[in-house]
Subunit: 474 residues, 2 copies
């Protein structure tokens, strides 16, 4: 198998590895094949996994710079990775590459309560940062599904989102500046430390979501918010997805600013109930989870407005609570979608392809109707949850991974869902990124001019094409 | 004078202009020297103004594409401009260039109430858009001082800010996608229409703040907010700037989320009072204007918190009001800073250099103390207003434009203020941009790696260097 190696890349001989080892901190270089293989893929399905030449577990920025100098000198590809929780294969090995793992760079360098900023290394786990910040009265809202296991560096590299986005935005909205190591080993600061700043092109912004194709992020300055207020939480039970979808559309265009608005279809709710007791009803067509953290009576008023709209759109039941225990339970139910689906698909043959399309909120009703048609036309199952307030849905294609026909059907279904997203004026990826998984689809979303511009900028920053070759931009 | 022309640029002969005219809509090409000269500069002082070869007032995207094809073919520089209200010379003519004015592309193409987005052409005046959107229950918060006269295209090209930023962010936070014309005339779409999206490098984001150096923005998709609630407005009167600065630092780190937090020094308040009656007291050391649009009692509570902090920091008086008329009057007072200073400096000899440094909020006290030292060391006056909640201050250097010594002193003072911003961990420009005015300073803010990366990306997008040569990146 030849996966993504640069054509001009030197084979990484033992002699070369010896040269690299001499530049690295002790024990940073790993050549044990089993360990390398264990680090060679992220959580994506159906993405190529190449044979890396070595793994470097960077012990510091110097190690990162040394790897990049070495890689440039010998034209060796480098795949940067952290916790490898990505869903698009962006952290997968390519043939002959050095896997540059920065998970050990996990220091929270500074928390500035006055300026409400922090500086962190890329390997800090999102949830760990959140918990540490809470002790300082601060919050970092972005909360991808992987919040408990993914790193801030990976979140920045994919511009991760989550449930907070409907009110609090995505990772990019919090990144002020960063230190990166460029392909030739140069260490440089991008962006700013201050609340505002327009000195030159916004290169820190360009690196957010760049999936390891431009440089290695070794430090990040994040803007923070005061600790978010405890929300009021509501649950709406709907006879079908279209009714829930119309509720989202109406509610969001009414001037509401919910702090969370999540949707699960009946199949998903069934899997959650089979996984654990989160107080959800059994037979539902669709369920909306909504929160408002508006202060005082405003939060309750916002949920009352949700209730009125939901009932007008055919909701069977709407209830809400300001008891933090209830809020936590319902959010836990939403967070349980992933393990609940895993449990469910284990019985099917273990295959789950999570899609990530984002459409204009006005098109959600049509999206669900056509999604049902797609599911009906195939033998695989489709179960859907997602960030409805943003129009960012995650239909999961569930199939039998041991059956070739089922796998083939799953891939077709997955692709049809992406095409549906594009047909409705949306995007093939709202927050998971392109990586290997969707790179062939990027050309369907971007026009020729944009594709060419993407390639030009990639070449300008990484002229040898050594950073994550074959991912995202192909 | 030779200003910024590309070395390889052809002289723009009448024959060439004839070739261009044939590609343009009727009356788009202007060769009248007086008209060209009238379009040759923005509102910046001390910036070179070159001799442009022609002016094109684009009547449509086709005109823009034709200009760029022509410019690429003949290697002729192009300076894109709108209302020319910028403060850094980015819209100034360069020798032999085509001034490409897009002010006539001023249609609001679409307002989508359900998705809370709009699509606009670049020439739409910010305030016009705001007023139109209000009729749809929507708001576009960014509100630079030039809000009544500047265009959305110019706001995007400089990533404009304003008074809203402390709670509602800058222009970049609202730009989802755009259509741009690349240097070779290719028309391409960048970014997305949806609330979220991570398909490829964020090139729409890269174009925000690029000051006409990468391409010509011909359409913009903006994310909007529901109409903002009427705020409660407070005024704090302080004996000196340090006391006001400490109040900002304390208030902002207390978890407050004011929707406006503006500072004016005593000299500025004096000029405002000489300009009109806005209900401001006469003898003040410094004045803070604060608003909260938090719903219900939360807004009042936030201003009570402000009052307590201000009084603890030595405020002489704090009062607040939820009467919209009062709010409007005080905001009008803040907006009057610009004309009030103009009136004041008319008596001095008419010179005013507005600086735009942004420092961490924690350093504001130190900033004001050292700013006072700078002012005291020079014969020119310094009056300061600014977006204190963001640490983004606009000290204005006031001088006699007819006196060479005064002009020289003003330039030195202006530079010392930028250096002070850098010394305190800040930036030379929070929201006005680099243009000509600060391009020599960009190299002091950016390290060598970042400078080189900026240049590489500029070259990749504009390999002939025809777009706004000599500006920003030099």
């Amino acid at each position: 198998m030849s996966v993504g190696a640069t054509e001009t890349g030197a084979a990484v001989t033992d002699t070369l590895l010896g040269e690299l080892a001499a530049e690295l901190s002790a024990e940073a270089l790993v050549t044990d094949r089993d360990v390398i293989d264990a680090y060679s893929s992220d959580k994506a399905l159906f993405c190529p996994v190449g044979q890396a030449a070595a793994l470097v577990r960077a012990g510091g920025v110097d190690d990162v710079a040394a790897v990049m100098r070495f890689a440039t000198k010998h034209r060796i590809p480098v795949v940067t990775q952290g916790a490898r929780t990505g869903l698009s294969g962006a952290a997968n090995a390519v043939d002959g590459a050095i896997l540059l793992n920065v998970a050990k760079l996990n220091a929270i360098i500074d928390i500035d309560e006055v300026n409400q900023t922090c500086r962190v290394q890329p390997g800090v786990i999102n949830q760990d940062l959140k918990m540490t910040l809470a002790g300082h009265g601060l919050s970092y809202p972005p909360d991808p599904g992987s919040v408990a296991i993914s790193t801030i560096g990976g979140n920045v590299a994919t511009n991760a989102g989550g449930m907070c986005c409907v009110k609090y935005g995505v990772t990019k909205d919090y990144v002020r500046g960063m230190t990166v190591v460029l392909p030739d080993g140069t260490v440089t600061k991008l962006g700013r430390q201050t609340a505002k700043g327009v000195a030159g092109l916004d290169l820190a912004g360009l690196f957010v979501g760049s999936e390891g194709t431009l440089g290695v992020i070794v430090e990040i300055t994040l803007g923070l918010r005061p600790l978010l207020a405890a929300p009021v939480t509501g649950v709406g039970i709907f006879p079908n997805m279209e009714s829930a979808g119309r509720t989202v559309t109406e509610f969001m265009s009414s001037g509401a600013a919910p702090s969370l608005l999540e949707l699960m279809d009946g199949a998903t709710v069934g899997m959650i109930n089979a996984y654990g007791d989160f107080g959800l009803p059994d037979e539902v067509g669709a369920l909306l989870l909504v929160q408002s953290d508006a202060p005082g009576q405003a939060g309750v008023a916002e949920l009352e407005s949700f209730q009125a709209i939901a009932e007008a759109q055919g909701a069977a039941e709407v209830f809400f609570s300001d008891d933090p225990a209830d809020s936590e339970m319902f959010v836990a139910a939403r967070r349980a979608v992933s393990p609940a689906m895993e449990q469910y698909v284990a019985g099917l043959g273990g295959g789950e392809l999570i899609d990530d399309v984002c459409v204009p909120r006005s098109r959600l009703g049509e999206f669900f109707a056509r999604l049902a048609d797609i599911a009906a036309a195939h033998t695989v199952e489709v179960a859907t949850a997602g960030h409805a307030g943003d129009g960012n849905m995650h239909p999961s294609v569930l199939f039998d991974a041991s059956d070739e026909a089922s796998v083939a059907e799953a891939k077709v279904t997955f692709a049809e869902i992406m095409q549906l997203g594009l047909d409705l004026g949306g995007t093939i990826t709202g927050e998971h990124g392109v990586g290997y998984l969707k790179k062939d689809w990027l050309g369907r979303e971007l026009d020729a001019g944009a594709q060419s511009l993407q390639a030009s900028i990639k070449s300008a920053v990484d002229p040898l094409g050594i950073l994550n070759p074959g991912k995202m931009l192909g």
